[in-house]
């Protein structure tokens, strides 16, 4: 074959491909230059290390096989896999077939794509040839099956485990139209060619014969190849402007992630990679309680990322999110969308709240302690039974402790941070740090997961920080005689901040199994529901919150427990709103109920005073 006599129809494909080959590296380079110098140093240090190999393994399993989507729903996983992996194999196998056939390793890129056109009467002379023909047909079928599912999903998303499909914007629609056309057109062009030349694989040959008997195949042949090439070229040109940009960007993101680049407080080039890696698969919107319960359908991760990408983000979209983390946990691309949201909030709000500077004299006096310092947190002031239960248990266990915020509320700083008031939050953190340090405590005990998370992640404290569920688990293991099993039937609610936020799932359960009969619920651990009380959402209305709370509560009481246990004062307060038949208690209260009866010290009368007999 000779280049000069090849027909013009390959040009749309070649042009599209050339465009991609120039455009993609250019934008990626631009984003890389926007990352910090530290990130770039990290990249150059890691690029020739095992990290890259690990990244490639992940690229293979996520970008091609879509393992995480499989876990979410096998049919949906198959749909994504057949399109991505099927197409990938078509390219690889096609290239190999062409190389073997032409005995030329450096054939032009369009040759494998339009192989059938250039070698229409290629009749396999040997087993190897037959193998390739059959394989290529099988692969085409594989891709077409995925495509059928995709089309089906657009109209009946429930079938693929999705409550609804994401809404598309114009560039997506254009790219989608080209994409949907590519493989049917390929099949048509190959079939017609097979029909005309009476040669081909089992699938294209049989469909080709049928077509040739019905249609003027010879005249249609070239137009079909043109159409196929235009679909390909059109798709390539539309790709960077549509959601399909994720195909390549996701791979780049995986590499960067493995090289140690992380989402930062401020948006930078890495954020661009993250934003463009979203495939708009809609899995996040599907697990989001805002849409499931409260009828809010514009602010989910998928829409937030989309609006941000196309520069049309409304502040309200960034604000209307619970930061519950359900979407990040389910996202097959593992995009840290909460962090990106926070960047946007901070951009807008940071300057609107001044740093807090309370004169030291006005700060609540710090108790001196060498032992455990308990930080109750603002919310716990409204749930005094939690504080009292902790006090009782610590006293019973002879733990030396003092309470940091007994006299008045001190804020941990996290709510301000979540709202984007970064400088204010930092000033609060600094102040509270000073108070903690002054106490010379050896351990900070926290009963509020919201505080716990920020103490862990933003405070640089020289002492360990423990959530009370973990602290008490260890205490109960060390002093089992203090507790008995009440045999009460209970369910456990994983709060967002302790569960998905801090990864503490097992300790509270272990503790609860010791003191009661813990029964499972429909949504546990990573999949736990948000109580709806989250401070992170700045736009939701109280009535919408209540809808979320009611659903979450229904799930928790479905197994008919005697009571529901949580380990967050905020969740407890949220659930106790309105009229609830089954009470929600904190894990400390559950533990307090399980305390063994105290042995009364023997008292004897000595004169007028009663004295304790040891």
């Amino acid at each position: 074959m000779n280049l000069s006599d090849h027909p013009f129809f390959v040009w749309p494909f070649v042009a599209g491909m050339a465009f991609l080959c120039i455009y993609l590296p250019a934008v990626y380079l631009k984003w890389l230059r926007k990352t910090s110098a530290r990130d770039r140093k990290k990249i150059s240090a890691a690029i020739f290390s095992v990290k890259t190999i690990r990244a490639i393994r992940e690229i293979f399993s996520e970008c091609l096989l879509h393992r995480r989507i499989f876990r979410f729903n096998p049919t949906l996983g198959y749909m994504h896999m057949s399109l991505a992996f099927g197409w990938f194999l078509l390219i690889v196998v096609g290239k190999t077939e062409t190389m073997l056939y032409t005995r030329d390793g450096f054939n032009p890129p369009y040759l494998p794509v339009f192989f059938k056109y250039f070698y229409p009467d290629h009749i396999p002379a040997n087993f190897k040839g037959l193998f390739f023909l059959t394989l290529m047909d099988l692969l085409l079928l594989f891709v077409l099956s995925g495509l059928t599912l995709a089309i089906f999903k657009r109209f009946k998303s429930k079938f693929l485990g999705m409550k609804k499909s994401t809404r598309h914007i114009l560039p997506d629609r254009i790219a989608l139209t080209f994409l949907w056309l590519i493989f049917p057109l390929r099949w048509l062009a190959e079939s017609l060619t097979s029909g005309v030349y009476n040669a081909g694989g089992f699938f294209t040959l049989s469909s080709g014969r049928a077509l040739a008997s019905l249609l003027p195949a010879e005249q249609l042949l070239l137009p079909a190849w043109w159409a196929y090439s235009i679909a390909l070229g059109g798709f390539f040109v539309a790709l960077p402007f549509s959601r399909y940009m994720h195909i390549f960007t996701e791979a780049a993101l995986i590499l960067l992630k493995h090289w140690g680049v992380k989402t930062t407080q401020r948006a930078n080039g890495y954020t661009d990679f993250e934003i463009h890696s979203c495939s708009r698969c809609g899995i996040c919107a599907n697990v989001c309680q805002l849409s499931a319960d409260a009828g809010i359908n514009h602010s989910q991760a998928v829409y937030f990322l989309r609006d941000l990408r196309y520069n049309r983000l409304q502040p309200e979209t960034a604000e209307n999110c619970l930061f519950c983390g359900r979407c990040s946990a389910a996202c097959p691309v593992d995009i840290q969308v909460d962090d990106i949201r926070l960047q946007q909030r901070t951009n807008r709000a940071n300057r609107c709240a001044p740093a807090i500077r309370r004169p030291a004299a006005q700060l609540p006096g710090t108790p001196e302690t060498g032992g455990v310092l308990y930080f109750a947190g603002c919310m716990t002031h409204l749930t005094p039974s939690v504080k009292e239960a902790i006090r009782t248990i610590l006293n019973r266990a002879d733990v030396k402790f003092s309470i940091l915020d007994e006299a008045g509320g001190i804020c941990c700083g996290r709510p301000a941070m979540q709202a984007g008031f970064r400088q204010q939050a930092e000033s609060i953190i600094q102040q509270t740090t000073e108070m903690i340090l002054r106490s010379e405590a050896s351990l900070l005990l926290v009963s509020c997961p919201i505080c716990y998370k920020v103490f862990n992640e933003e405070y640089q404290l020289p002492i360990p920080v423990k959530h009370h569920s973990v602290f008490f688990k260890e205490l109960a293991a060390a002093k089992p005689e203090l507790f008995k099993n009440s045999r009460k039937r209970i369910t456990y609610h994983d709060s967002c901040e302790l569960g998905r936020g801090s990864g503490i799932y097992e300790e509270p359960r272990e503790l609860l199994r010791r003191v009661a009969h813990l029964v499972p619920t429909a949504h546990e651990r990573e999949d736990a529901l948000c109580c709806g009380g989250s401070l992170a959402n700045l736009a939701i209305s109280p009535a919408q919150r209540d809808l979320i709370t009611d659903t979450a509560y229904e799930q928790l009481i479905a197994p008919a427990p005697d009571y529901v246990v949580t380990s967050c004062p905020m969740c407890k307060k949220t659930f106790s709103k309105g009229k609830r038949d089954i009470p929600v208690v904190d894990i400390a209260e559950a533990l307090q109920m399980a305390l063994t009866p105290e042995e009364k010290p023997v008292r004897v009368k000595v004169g007028k005073k009663a004295e304790v007999l040891a």
Partner: protein, 356 residues
């Protein structure tokens, strides 16, 4: 309207009264005096409803026991058939009658039913921030009535009189956080009355009332408020208490805003009294709903003709009176009971007419 003799000809018609509080008993007495057969069902051991729990009544601080005794006396004089310790578990229509089923499983038919199931006190433990059930010296207004009983000894602290007592108005009422948006109406005046009673027992004790609005709706209530200020020196602070905590010596520290001063207040008290509101009787509500009775937003029974025939319900032949129709004082509950009795009589007369 009714003709006394008509009922004496044949077998008198039978009316079931559910609840032997002041409303139910007043209605039963009126009906009985008109010759109708009445059976009063009461789930408690004794009649009187909530009146039994009160020490002295607003607005005149008349001893509750006296009022209760008079009522009971009349009930026994009239030989009202009173079935105590018998909770009504269901009311179902049966032909042109109503079948009453008790929790013991007994069933009887009646020509008409009058519901006077009253109210239940708001469970103060649901307002966790006030510490009821957690701190010993946080009590409710109902609990205070009992402590006021024996010369106020229930309020002494380690044998000494209390130094300071604070009342929190609107606990469980006007509070969307507990799902009760309505005003319970009687707690303001109860708070004023109880404040005075404390001063009577312990003149040295300082009494603070934390309120959002003072609703002195009835005859003599405003005068009582004035007396509390002028004669007894009760201090009224406009601000809702947000939370309370216990100090090491067992006293209670509360937080509020003095909204008229515009500054936060903090006060340590020997007792914190929560003026708990009224909620509809939950269990009665359940079966009443399956009978088809309409309740208003707050869950109290409501009449389809609330201006002219307040005791009617959406079910013909079923009537309501007293605090089950919404927060009410004793005189109001009594009047409602008597008014409902008249409506029952009218209904029976009509039924009798039709039966002829």
């Amino acid at each position: 309207m009714y003709q006394h003799n008509r009922y004496q000809k044949g077998k008198p018609q039978q009316v079931a009264v559910v609840g032997a509080g002041v409303a139910g008993l007043s209605a039963a007495l009126t009906l009985k005096k008109q010759g109708v057969g009445v059976v009063v069902f009461e789930k408690d051991e004794s009649p009187g409803g909530h009146l039994q729990q009160w020490h002295a009544l607003f607005p005149d601080r008349e001893p509750a026991a006296g009022v209760l005794d008079l009522l009971k006396q009349e009930v026994s004089e009239q030989k009202i058939s009173l079935r105590t310790q018998t909770e009504v578990a269901a009311v179902t229509p049966s032909g042109d009658k109503f079948r009453i089923e008790t929790s013991q499983g007994e069933q009887n038919e009646f020509d008409a039913v009058l519901l006077a199931t009253g109210f239940q006190l708001f469970d103060a433990a649901r307002k966790e921030e006030y510490g009821y059930g957690i701190y010993q010296r946080v009590i409710t207004s109902a609990g205070l009535e009992q402590r006021l009983g024996h010369g106020g000894t229930g309020l002494t602290v380690n044998g000494r009189p209390p130094h300071r007592v604070a009342f929190v108005h609107c606990v469980g009422s006007r509070d969307e956080k507990v799902g009760n948006h309505y005003c319970s109406k009687v707690c303001c005046v109860t708070g004023v009355k109880q404040a005075i009673t404390i001063k009577e027992h312990f003149p040295q004790c300082e009494v603070l009332n934390f309120y959002m609005d003072l609703r002195m709706f009835g005859t003599g209530y405003e005068e009582l408020y004035r007396e509390a200020q002028e004669k007894w020196g009760v201090m009224f602070i406009r601000g809702r208490v947000s939370e309370a905590s216990q100090m090491y010596d067992g006293t209670i520290q509360l937080k509020a805003e003095d909204t008229l001063m515009g500054r936060p207040v903090r006060a340590t008290v020997d007792w914190l009294v929560l003026l708990v509101g009224m909620e509809p009787e939950k269990r009665a509500q359940l079966w009443a709903r399956s009978l088809g009775l309409r309740t208003g937003q707050a869950g109290f029974f409501s009449s389809p003709e609330k201006f002219l025939h307040p005791s009617l319900t959406t079910v013909n032949g079923v009537f309501t009176a007293g605090a089950c129709t919404g927060p009410a004082s004793i005189p109001e509950s009594v009047s409602q009971g008597r008014a409902a009795a008249i409506s029952v009589l009218e209904f029976l007369a009509k039924k009798d007419e039709a039966g002829k």
